[in-house]
């Protein structure tokens, strides 16, 4: 019996080895890590009342499949320059925009870099007067350009209701 079981396990190991060599070598996680994955997940409610945007409705693992990145730059390419600086600057822009446009952004803040130009895009709620919006656009562009030492452009889209960006309720 013992010999038989050893043989079985050996065959299993063989099969595993064959599978490992034939398939791609992926990043592997233990089942414990898999079970406790929390980031980017939202709890469902009993009455399906939790609103989710398209960005929230798709898990971080679906980036490049169902949704795309919020930061676009060449820093993370092979031999790209200033990866750390770019990440910190992006975080700074996000914090500044969130605070300046208080409670107005209904989407994630998208930061796209092209040459030395930084484009900040997003969807805002028409919660304030037009002239205040124009002021805030100029204010944000001017201050960010001064701090980051490169032209910054705000390219915004407005919605009349916060519900416009909701993709589904869970």
């Amino acid at each position: 019996m013992i010999i038989l079981s050893v043989n079985k396990s050996l065959r299993l190991i063989e099969l595993c080895a064959v599978k490992q060599f034939t398939s791609y070598r992926n990043f592997s996680l233990t089942s414990v890590c898999e079970a406790h994955k929390q980031a980017g997940k939202y709890r469902t409610t009993r009455n399906r009342s939790r609103p989710l945007t398209y960005e929230m409705a798709n898990l971080p693992t679906t980036i490049a499949h169902y949704k795309s990145w919020n930061s676009w730059n060449t820093s993370c390419m092979f031999e790209g320059v200033r990866p750390a600086e770019t990440a910190v600057e992006d975080e700074f822009i996000r914090k500044f925009i969130t605070g300046t446009w208080h409670n107005l952004f209904v989407s994630e803040i998208i930061i796209k870099r092209q040459y030395n130009i930084i484009r900040v895009a997003g969807i805002i709620y028409r919660g304030i007067q037009q002239r205040k919006m124009y002021f805030l656009i100029g204010y944000s562009e001017e201050l960010l350009s001064y701090w980051l030492q490169c032209p910054v452009k705000l390219e915004l889209q407005t919605v009349s209701s916060r519900k416009d960006v909701i993709f589904k309720y869970i």
């Binding site: 320059v81 998208i110 895009a121």
Partner: protein, 319 residues
């Protein structure tokens, strides 16, 4: 105490009329209604408008400016329709080429056409180009999405040219190959000079140019010690300086003794058999004993021997 005295006070105590107080101070606040937003611009766009004027440069997608019914996004369960272009952040993320429509590209090309000169007719084929411009100068420019415009890798300058483009004699060609070392590709006969030692591209270019000139003149120089080179020092087989040539000439001029003839003075340029034999022997020594080389050697030898035997008086030989 904030109370109002009524005019018709009756009795001992004053009456505090709450209702009248409220009535007096109440004023209806008009509810502010936001003026309605204008309808999106795409609704009033004419169909024959000039699109490059509407979207002249790179810009984030804006649904009200683009009269296309595009959708982006997907529901995994296929229960919800893909989100429309309004309030769609996915469309704003992806780079668009709405400013690079064919008419816009054509307009750009027409605008810069006046700065271009026609291509020279003489350089119609690659052969002609390589013949007249053998030197290739290769540099790389790097473009990043960052405020930094310089990249240290942009300083590297590469020169490429075929060695045959240089007018060199036998000695100089041999010497320049030694000087170049691995920078010379034996198979393609191409020389590659890569310079990255200076901080700026211009400096590296100048240094490469200097290297080119120095290599040429250095290979042309014949040093005193180069005359001391013996046959044993040769790195390759030279038929002209080897006993093989002597043997061939001895056979050719037989029965004259070889010593009488000055071997160096005899030119075998026009002797086809000699050239074949020379090539076969040289290949055998320099490129190795492959089947092909051995066969070539055999053919060359047989040709010489057959011809010489036919020319010779067999009776003479027998004596």
């Amino acid at each position: 105490m904030n109370c109002i005295e009524h005019e018709n006070i009756s009795g001992e105590f004053r009456v505090f009329d709450v209702r009248s107080n409220k009535r007096k101070h109440a004023h209806v606040q008009e509810k502010y209604t936001r003026p309605p937003a204008n309808p999106p611009r795409e609704k009033i766009m004419p169909t024959d408008q000039d699109w490059p004027s509407v979207w002249p440069g790179p810009r984030t997608f804006h649904p009200a400016s683009v009269p296309l019914t595009v959708r982006q996004g997907m529901d995994k369960n296929q229960k919800i329709a893909p989100p429309s272009k309004y309030a769609n952040a996915e469309l704003m993320k992806i780079p668009n080429f709405l400013h690079l429509t064919p008419p816009a590209v054509k307009r750009h090309c027409d605008a810069i056409k006046k700065f271009c000169t026609p291509w020279p007719n003489e350089l119609d084929t690659d052969e002609n180009i390589n013949k007249h411009f053998p030197l290739k100068i290769i540099t790389n420019d790097y473009c990043y999405s960052s405020p930094k415009i310089r990249d240290p890798k942009a300083r590297v300058v590469t020169f490429k040219f075929p060695l045959s483009a240089m007018t060199l004699n036998n000695h100089a060609e041999d010497k320049i190959k030694r000087l170049l070392g691995e920078r010379f590709n034996q198979e393609t006969g191409e020389v590659t000079l890569v310079t990255d030692r200076c901080p700026m591209r211009r400096q590296n270019y100048d240094y490469n140019m200097y290297l080119l000139v120095a290599l040429y003149y250095e290979s042309m120089n014949v040093e005193e010690w180069e005359a001391e080179k013996q046959e044993e020092d040769m790195e390759y087989y030279d038929w002209e300086k080897n006993p093989s040539k002597k043997a061939y000439i001895a056979l050719k001029y037989w029965p004259k003794p070889v010593d009488e003839i000055k071997i160096d003075e005899i030119s075998l340029e026009n002797d086809e058999k000699a050239q074949n034999y020379k090539e076969a022997v040289t290949d055998l020594f320099n490129k190795g004993e492959t089947t092909h080389n051995l066969f070539k050697y055999k053919e060359a030898v047989l040709k010489i021997v057959n011809d010489e035997f036919q020319n010779l008086d067999v009776g003479n030989m027998c004596q």
